[in-house]
């Protein structure tokens, strides 16, 4: 396996220009969609089968009661322990040699299990092709030594591409700088490889707590439930089995 690559999205540098969203559409040849009125500058409300990058605009009250505008360019997190990949019954979703998570469109049969299994609501179902789709980390560009189109297009270097270990070190330094500058809520999301989901290969620097950006505080790998749920099912099966044996047992004497 090649060295793991990553995307680092630093929301403190994001100006909400959505160049990343446009570059993603262009490079991946994703068709236009009907705009949605979401009440903010954000379009669409969530990832779709034709929008893999999405700049989110959260309007919230700050500590003094004024307006706080949380901007965040959101993307597939390419989790180290990925719910979609583990759920996929066909093997269409696989881990690339770069550590990213990709859906092989030639294998996917459109069962939609991954759509329900993603803890971040990233994977979307494409009704035109009948397959699941999401950010590919610009897999074709990676194979040619280029970073993803969104990072290339970002005018403020809010989205950065690089090797994961180097980017993580950079991110930790940046968070210290921001804290010194007075952003006391500045924090990294998904950078810790010992944290939830084994770390995210697209990680973020946030200026507010994760819930301020619509991110789950502690995302869980859905497949962690399989063991306990199965044990409880076996318990249920034992009770049913015993019940049936009692019902049909030989009852002394002839019938």
């Amino acid at each position: 396996m090649a060295r793991t690559v990553a995307m680092f999205t630093d929301v403190s540098l994001c100006i909400g220009c959505r160049a990343c969203q446009v570059a993603c559409k262009q490079w991946n040849q994703l068709p236009a969609e009907e705009p949605e009125w979401t009440g903010t500058y954000q379009n669409h409300a969530n990832f779709t089968d034709k929008s893999y990058r999405l700049v989110r605009f959260f309007e919230q009250k700050d500590d003094k009661g004024g307006l706080q505008w949380n901007l965040m360019s959101d993307v597939c997190k390419h989790c180290a322990e990925a719910g979609c990949l583990e759920a996929c019954p066909t093997g269409a979703i696989y881990r690339t040699q770069y550590g990213t998570v990709n859906i092989n469109q030639d294998i996917c049969n459109g069962c939609r299990y991954c759509v329900s299994a993603c803890p971040f609501g990233v994977v979307a179902f494409n009704h035109d092709t009948g397959r699941a789709s999401k950010c590919t980390f610009c897999n074709d560009r990676l194979h040619n030594g280029l970073g993803p189109a969104c990072a290339k297009a970002c005018p403020t270097e809010s989205i950065q591409f690089g090797f994961r270990d180097e980017l993580a070190a950079k991110a930790r330094k940046r968070v210290e700088e921001l804290k010194k500058m007075g952003y006391k809520n500045a924090q990294l999301y998904g950078e810790d490889q010992n944290g939830p989901l084994g770390g995210l290969n697209a990680f973020f620097l946030l200026l507010d707590k994760p819930s301020g950006y619509g991110l789950p505080v502690k995302p869980r790998l859905p497949q962690n439930n399989v063991f306990v749920d199965s044990l409880l099912s076996i318990g249920s099966a034992l009770l049913v089995g015993i019940g049936a044996i009692v019902a049909f047992r030989e009852r002394g004497g002839k019938e």
């Binding site: 583990e86 294998i107 859905p222 099912s233 249920s236 030989e250």
Partner: protein, 308 residues
């Protein structure tokens, strides 16, 4: 709260989950009745095994029709690229793959195995009935024991499958697999009882034996349903309270309380206890089947609503 997406599985999948549970339950009951006295329990064995086969036949069709690309149904079992990294504990055997932590993959294998065993069991009953004196009980005992495990698996795995998603109602419940298995047992037993009473073969205490399965199965169904709701309610998971409210007091509450709980669970349970009158017992069996379907349908429908 994160905006999650939903697979939006349609009614066809609910029907599959119901039929798979019924088939698994009927098979297990027939197998146990067969092992503990095949001659004595002949009518239950015959109806149970035939019913298991008939109920499982439409299942793969429903599943294939629901796929985005139905012609690729074999991809559930076969890999075109067996060298790809496709999951934590994935096992590749030649062109085939087994993913123990993907309940959908395991379920596809279980459906395949169960279908074959249900066919063999029904065939052996048929061959015995066709020629007097032919004895295939040793063969059917093997098929029954192996198929019984498959039957349990087929009834329970849809619940485990739902539990292994990020949908707040499913993810925090833990007891969905146990509940679905109990529903499979109650609906399998009720369907056998219903068919036997239609055929006029309920004599000789057979319906009484089935009642001895139905009553504890309904109790188990009620207990696992209560534990499921309790687990979701106490999980404190993001979105759990919101989706639980959809089920208990929101748009799905009528189907849940009236359909799945009152008409589909409490009324048939009381009927089973208080009466042995054939007509009422048959009505009770019908209500158990309706309730078994509705409880799965309503949980899946409420859990798939996208929260904002």
């Amino acid at each position: 709260m994160p905006l999650l997406q939903s697979a939006d599985w349609p009614l066809l999948i609910d029907l599959y989950f119901f039929l798979a549970g019924l088939a698994g339950g009927a098979f297990v009951i027939a197998a146990i009745a067969d092992l503990l006295g095949g001659e004595r329990n002949r009518s239950v064995v015959r109806v149970g095994y035939y019913l298991a086969l008939l109920a499982v036949i439409p299942c793969p069709i429903f599943l294939i029709v629901d796929l985005g690309v139905p012609s690729r149904f074999l991809h559930m079992l076969m890999s075109l690229k067996p060298d790809q990294a496709i999951g934590a504990a994935a096992i590749n055997i030649g062109q085939f793959h087994i993913k123990p932590f993907s309940p959908m993959n395991m379920g596809a294998w279980a459906l395949l195995g169960f279908s074959a065993l249900a066919f063999l069991a029904a065939l052996s009953v048929f061959l015995e009935d066709a020629k007097r004196g032919r004895d295939l009980s040793a063969f059917r005992a093997t098929v029954g024991i192996i198929g019984g495990f498959f039957g349990f698996f087929l009834a329970a795995y849809p619940g485990v499958l739902l539990g292994a998603t990020a949908r707040p109602l499913f993810q925090n419940g833990s007891f969905l697999g146990a509940l679905f298995l109990a529903v499979g047992a109650s609906s399998g037993a009720a369907a056998i009882a219903l068919i036997l009473s239609f055929l006029g073969q309920g004599a000789g205490g057979t319906l009484g034996q089935l009642r001895q399965i139905i009553i504890p199965a309904l109790l188990l169904q009620a207990a696992t349903l209560a534990l499921f709701l309790l687990r979701v309610g106490m999980s404190g998971g993001e979105g759990a309270a919101q989706s639980l409210a959809l089920l208990l007091s929101g748009p799905y509450s009528l189907i849940f309380w009236v359909g799945a709980v009152a008409v589909g669970l409490v009324v048939p349970f009381v009927l089973q206890i208080v009466t042995r009158q054939p007509g009422l017992v048959a009505i009770s069996a019908v209500l158990i089947l309706v309730g078994g379907f509705l409880v799965k349908y309503v949980i899946i429908a409420a859990g798939q609503v996208v929260l904002s």
